[in-house]
Amino acid sequence: MVALRRGTAERRRRRGQLALIGVIALAATLIALLSTYSLQPKIAYERGHLQAAQLVHLARACMATGSCNDAQLEELVGRLRQLNQTYPIRMYNISEKRVLNPDPSGLTVTNATVFRIRTLQTEFTNNLEEVRITVTTASEPTGRRYSKRVGDRVYTMVEVKVTYTHSYSSPFFNVTLCPSLRTTDGVADLKRLGKCNWLVGVPLELSRTVTVNGAQVYRYDLRDEFGIPVPVLFQG
């Protein structure tokens, strides 16, 4: 009787083990089948940062000509549109572009370029989004003058504190840069005081007079690291 019960229990255990092996074998087969299945993901290329940076880059290239206007900007955007069809630039639709060069306020010169683009967000809100590039040069003469000899010539140097910034705002990033400055004639003296602050010795003899808000001031141009002219203004 006891032997009969033991035999039945043994058979049940074996059946359970066989069932377990069956489950494991089935799971292994399913996972093996799954691993051979090749994924065909739909790739969505990330857009935003690069496209906004591209517009900043074009605006700076336009400003570097020294006389950026709407026509020049349109020409650059036209080139971009052409290349957009051949290369993976994936530029947004640019609905508007404007060059803003308002009259200097005092001794501060601000140049701005604004692009209005149709992003994915625009599809939902119907509002165009803005990429704005603002380049500001604020000059503040210290009142100090000194002489400097370069070769045979002696120049009267006017010391001016200059604050020079690039601000880029877009739906994807807000960045402020303090580009480095350089002279084009090797006469001006340049010293970086802080991130965006410079002490500039400007040769009076190489400066030209311009009219700002009805007043005559001197203007001397430096260049930044992107090739953009940096107008330093001061009174005679």
Partner: protein, 107 residues
């Protein structure tokens, strides 16, 4: 019987691990693609000439699998890696106008 069970469990574990590794590698491709896009954006914001843009790109993408192409207008792009992002680089001061810098990334 117990050896058979252990072998079956081991087989399941090995196949599952291989599947996970393959899946992770495929996911990695999209991550490096995003990295390439932002790296090129960062390089464009901080440089104007094609040489400096590519220099900054190599700094930003150090340690990842990528390739950079500097093309002239009309030149054909033949990438080896699948995810490519391009930009028009205009350098009016340097005389090297209209270069197209393309960065491609992938697994």
């Amino acid at each position: 019987m117990r050896h058979l069970e252990a072998a079956a469990i081991g087989l399941v574990f090995a196949i599952a691990s291989a599947y996970m590794v393959a899946l992770t590698a495929r996911q990695g491709a999209s991550v490096s693609g995003v990295g390439a896009q932002r790296a090129l954006a960062w390089a464009l914001l901080n440089a104007q000439s094609p040489e400096n843009v590519t220099k900054l790109l190599s700094i930003a993408l150090n340690g990842t699998s990528y390739e950079v192409h500097v093309l002239n207008w009309g030149e054909t792009l033949e990438p080896k890696l699948p995810f490519c992002y391009g930009a028009l680089v205009v350098n009016p001061a340097g005389g090297e106008e209209n270069k197209i810098v393309v960065v491609c990334a992938g697994p």
